[in-house]
Symmetry: C2
Amino acid sequence: MIKQILISDPTLRDGNHACAHQLNAEQIAIYAEAADKAGVPIVEVGHGNGLGASSLQVGLSKEDDKTILETARKHLNKSKLGIHVIPGFATIKRDLVNAIDIGVDVIRVASHCTEADITQRHLGYVRERGKEAYGVLMMSHMASASVLVEEAQKMELYGAEGIIIMDSAGAYLPSDVQEKISALVNGLKVPVGFHAHNNLGMAIANSIMAIESGAKILDGTARGFGAGAGNAQLEVLVAVLEKMGYVTGIDLYKILDASDIAEKEIMSIVPTIKSDSIVSGLSGVFSGFAKHVTRISNEYEVDPRDVYRELGKRKIVGGQEDMIIEVVMDLIRNRK
Amino acid sequence: MIKQILISDPTLRDGNHACAHQLNAEQIAIYAEAADKAGVPIVEVGHGNGLGASSLQVGLSKEDDKTILETARKHLNKSKLGIHVIPGFATIKRDLVNAIDIGVDVIRVASHCTEADITQRHLGYVRERGKEAYGVLMMSHMASASVLVEEAQKMELYGAEGIIIMDSAGAYLPSDVQEKISALVNGLKVPVGFHAHNNLGMAIANSIMAIESGAKILDGTARGFGAGAGNAQLEVLVAVLEKMGYVTGIDLYKILDASDIAEKEIMSIVPTIKSDSIVSGLSGVFSGFAKHVTRISNEYEVDPRDVYRELGKRKIVGGQEDMIIEVVMDLIRNRK
């Protein structure tokens, strides 16, 4: 039996979180070409928060969506071109129509883990246009296994051909992944996927646990380039999967080359697990908040770890970046 | 039931591999003090290859053993002072007598995983002097579970009060750790420990699997500072163990502070998983070889990945650094 795993590589999308969305066209071209050569099945590109998200609030992209997509399209031959789409950031008329016209192959429509309802129209439109449609549940640690199954079933009903859960805060241990992925595999007809973050050093182990629990799709990025402590490191994932007898279709030496190129050409710094990221993971706070929390905490001289703990208690999610200031002000007030 | 785990921190010993053994007295003082404040039970110091190992062949230390030990001793109050001792590098008369006189509390006597015999006299001497004696089996992935048990039982017989196995090449997956640690826990009366390397991104997951399989002792270093892709990242380990309900006696915020200090004061670079380290882990080659393999491969323009694969096939171990040149020469010869 061939144990085939579908790998999607959001280096050029989640990695944008790690560089304030400043990836430029040349960098996109260089890495897309290297990933394509290595046989990466899906290369996902865009603003960290996906299509149409470039804004003052969550950060302006270096390049607009059109440039990003056209550049990637031009440099991908065998790899499919993927995007991350959060309804609210991305509208069908303004964004999705154009993206599909440019030649996007795979569209992941994402919502907070308890809000699958918002994905219905976007998933429907993607299917209507004959493109591959996936549903993504973000911040999945905030919902129980049974709630995740309910939400995923909605996405399946809307036309999603696979469901990916994201550990957006890097909060999971392998036992958590086992519980949630098993429940989803049992509750769905379509394949299940997992997107890891490394705040607790578990990105690779959690990804492997997802597979061992029945998942068929994994996300990984070169050197783990991504929000906060980074994602599952793609080239490590490929090596470990190969060692375990799984088939990814990716050439090991060539993906090692691609990750070397990525480190040299697109990263000012390779993600490591900083102290704040650990507390962020323990608190269940979205990894994309890291840079904002560090900056604002330094500015107001509060302990960023206390900020994460409080954000965790208030169950803040992506899009609520303004709450960081509010939490910092409360911490200062309580100090007095 | 309190699930107590004994943590030993070789940041100032394994970390020396990551900086060509150039840790200086001031750096040793700064980190020892921070680790002591955080409540780290054992702080291990010395040349990367342990007591008496400073030499042209495996690298000259910035500071001699006496300076290293006296400096650490002076800055540790609650933490015990530990050393790594490989008979052959360290003699009893020249090295061990002095180390104990300076005030070392915990002595780990180490051998290759199939050569426990060489530890008998050293372990005997440590017990004679009334100090804590542990046995360490290095490169443990090269022996089967049953051989490891036999070798560990010898060390137990020689007086070891605990046995630590090292994944010196970062070659293990969690299932390997489960098999080997379970066998040791069943076959020994003394506690069992695990020392991880992160070549395959599994250092934290493997450490946790060791504990779940019955181990009671774990090694971890600040930011993973150590040979090759680094060790289990201590502050992550403490956070994960705490999340799982284990007790380490280490204060989370203070060990986060200690790791921030370590990053700032003692590391020119934080370990990440480079492409070569992945191949090194897959090939089962000692992580301490990384710098030499990179340097020599670049010099002779051969692919370092081919060098690792060949070193792995030849089952090269620490101390055989000269073989790197031999392998490189053979690769060049075969190319012609």
